[in-house]
C-alpha cells in the first residue's frame, strides 16, 4: 500500500525537481565561494551577484544594456530570417540558382563569424548596425538550409492534388508549401534564435559602447566580476525567453504532429 502511494507522491513532485536542483546548485555555489577562500573578484558568491544586480537594476543601466542587446538580437533575427526564407524558397525551386549560389553559401559557412566580426565593425562602425548585421549573418545559414530542405520535402503527390484542382501559384505557396515546410523551417528558426544571441554578444565584444557584451567587457576590465555574472544571467534569461517563444509557436502551429519537441 505504501509503495504505489510513494511513487505517486514522487511523481507529483516531479515538476518541482528542476527548481529544487537549481536551488541546490546556488547553495553549493554559495558554500564553495565562501569556504574556498577565493577573492570575490575571482568568484563572487550568489549573494554578491544578487546585490550587484539590485544596484545595476536600481540605476537602470542594466535595462539600458539589455534593451540594446535585445534590439540587436531581434532586428538581426528578423532581417536574417526574412532574407534566408526568401532566398531559401528560390533556391529550393531553382537548381540553377542553387548551383550559382552554392560556392558562396558553403564559403559563408566555412568562415567563422567571430573572425569577420572585427571586419564588419571596421566597415559599419561600432554602433548597433554592425551587430544587427552579425546577428543576421549568423542566423542566415541554418534558416536558409532548413527552408530549402523543408520546401523540397513537400510530397510530390500533394503537388499533383493541387494541380488537379487547378490551384494557382499563390494558392500552392500558401496552402501547400508554407504549411508543409513549417516543421523543418521552425527547427531552423529555433537554432537561429539561439545563435542570434551569440552573434550580438560577439559583435559587442569586438567594439561597442553599450549592450550586455559591452557590460561583460567593462566588468572584466574593472575586476567587477559580479557585474560579469549579472550580464551573463541577463543573457541566459533573454536566450531562454526567445527560445521559449519559438518553442511555444512551434507547439501551437504544429499541433497536428504526433510528437512535439519539448526541449
Amino acid at each position: 500500500m505504501t509503495k504505489p502511494s510513494l511513487t505517486k507522491h514522487i511523481r507529483s513532485l516531479r515538476p518541482w525537481l528542476g527548481l529544487a536542483s537549481l536551488l541546490a546548485g546556488f547553495l553549493l555555489w554559495q558554500f564553495a565561494a565562501q569556504t574556498g577562500g577565493l577573492p570575490s573578484f575571482i568568484l563572487p558568491t550568489p549573494v554578491d551577484v544578487w546585490s550587484r544586480f539590485v544596484r545595476a537594476a536600481a540605476d537602470r543601466s542594466l535595462f539600458l544594456h539589455m534593451g540594446v542587446t535585445l534590439t540587436e538580437i531581434l532586428s538581426g533575427l528578423l532581417a536574417g530570417v526574412a532574407a534566408a526564407t526568401c532566398l531559401g524558397y528560390l533556391v529550393a525551386k531553382s537548381r540553377l540558382l542553387e548551383n550559382l549560389l552554392a560556392p558562396y553559401l558553403v564559403a559563408s559557412q566555412a568562415v567563422p563569424l567571430v573572425a569577420i566580426a572585427p571586419l564588419l565593425v571596421i566597415w559599419f562602425g561600432p554602433g548597433m548596425f554592425s551587430k544587427i548585421l552579425i546577428c543576421a549573418l549568423i542566423v542566415f545559414f541554418p534558416v536558409l538550409v532548413n527552408t530549402v530542405v523543408g520546401v523540397r520535402a513537400v510530397p510530390p503527390a500533394l503537388y499533383d492534388l493541387m494541380g488537379s484542382l487547378r490551384a494557382t501559384r499563390t494558392q500552392i505557396l500558401l496552402k501547400l508549401e508554407v504549411p508543409a515546410a513549417l516543421p523543418i523551417f521552425l527547427g531552423g528558426l529555433r537554432i537561429g534564435a539561439t545563435l542570434s544571441v551569440i552573434g550580438a554578444v560577439v559583435g559587442e565584444f569586438v567594439g561597442a559602447d553599450r549592450g550586455l557584451g559591452f557590460l561583460i567587457n567593462v566588468g572584466r576590465g574593472q575586476y567587477d566580476t559580479s557585474l560579469v555574472f549579472v550580464a551573463i544571467f541577463a543573457l541566459v534569461v533573454m536566450a531562454l525567453v526567445l527560445y521559449g517563444m519559438v518553442a511555444w509557436f512551434e507547439k501551437r502551429l504544429l499541433i497536428w504532429q504526433e510528437t512535439s519537441h519539448t526541449l
Binding site: 503527390a157 494541380g163 488537379s164 497536428w256
Partner: protein, 246 residues
C-alpha cells in the same frame, strides 16, 4: 449510351524523354466517356494506366493526339490517389473543404458536413489524418474529390493500399456514392473483380506502350451486391478480361 460524350480521347500518345529516343507510355489511345458513365481502366503494371489518368487530370500534356472535354474546356476534376494524400496539418473537415477554398465558395462548411455524412465519417470532422485508418483516410479523399461537384472523377487505384476486406467494403461504398451523386468516373485498377463490380465499361490496356486492347460493356444489373461475383455472367466477363490481360 445516347448522350454526347463528356470526354473524347483521340489518338493519345505520351512519350517520356529518355536517352534512347523516348519511352513510349501510351500509344494511340482512343475512347469516349459518356456523362455519368463509370469506366474502369484495367491493365498490367507499366501499361500507362496512371499516365492516362494524369493526362486526363491535366497534370501531364499529351505528346500527340488530344483530350477533348466537349463544352467544358476547363473541366473540374476530382481526383483520388493510391495513397489518401491528405494534408496532415488539416483536420478531416478542413481536408474535405480544400477544393472549395481554392475556388472560394461560400457554403464550404455545410457542403463538407454533407459529404462527411455521405462517406460515413460523422463524428470524425475534427480528427487529424494521423488518427485515421487506411479505409477512413480514403473515404476522406473521396469526399474531398466530390465536394466541388467535379465534371469528372478520376480514381487511381484508390483501394490498392487497403486490405482485402476493407477494399470490398469500399466497393459497396463507392458504388452507393456514385449512384447518389451521378458522377462520371474513370477509375484505374488492376483488379478484375473490382472493375466488374463497379464499372459500366472496362477498357483493357496492353503492356507498354499501352493501347486499348479491349473495350468491354459490363451489362450486369445494378445495384450489384456481393453475390454477383458467383453468377455465370460475372464469370464470363471475368474470363474475357483475364484473356485480354493475359
Amino acid at each position: 449510351m445516347s448522350s454526347n460524350p463528356i470526354l473524347t480521347v483521340s489518338n493519345l500518345t505520351v512519350t517520356f524523354p529518355d536517352n534512347n529516343g523516348g519511352l513510349r507510355a501510351l500509344d494511340e489511345v482512343s475512347f469516349e466517356v459518356c456523362p455519368q458513365e463509370f469506366i474502369c481502366v484495367l491493365g498490367p503494371s507499366g501499361s500507362g494506366k496512371t499516365t492516362l489518368l494524369r493526362v486526363l487530370a491535366g497534370l501531364l500534356p499529351p505528346t500527340m493526339g488530344e483530350v477533348n472535354f466537349g463544352d467544358h474546356q476547363q473541366p473540374r476534376i476530382g481526383m483520388v490517389f493510391q495513397q489518401s494524400n491528405l494534408m496532415p496539418w488539416r483536420t478531416v473537415l478542413e481536408n474535405i473543404r480544400l477544393p472549395l477554398e481554392l475556388t472560394g465558395a461560400a457554403d464550404a462548411e455545410s457542403r463538407a458536413r454533407e459529404l462527411i455524412d455521405l462517406v460515413g465519417l460523422t463524428g470524425f470532422e475534427n480528427n487529424w489524418p494521423r488518427d485515421l485508418s487506411g479505409g477512413m483516410a480514403q473515404r476522406v479523399a473521396i469526399a474531398r474529390a466530390l465536394i466541388h461537384d467535379p465534371d469528372l472523377l478520376l480514381l487511381d487505384e484508390p483501394f490498392g493500399a487497403l486490405d482485402a476486406l476493407t477494399r470490398e467494403r469500399m466497393w459497396m461504398e463507392l458504388s452507393r456514392i456514385w449512384q447518389a451523386r451521378q458522377k462520371t468516373v474513370v477509375m484505374v485498377t488492376h483488379s478484375i473483380n473490382e472493375s466488374l463490380f463497379l464499372a459500366d465499361r472496362v477498357l483493357v490496356l496492353s503492356a507498354r506502350p499501352g493501347h486499348v486492347k479491349l473495350d468491354l460493356e459490363v451489362d450486369l444489373p445494378r445495384p450489384r451486391v456481393d453475390d454477383i461475383r458467383y453468377t455465370p455472367p460475372f464469370g464470363q466477363l471475368a474470363r474475357k478480361l483475364k484473356a485480354a490481360i493475359e
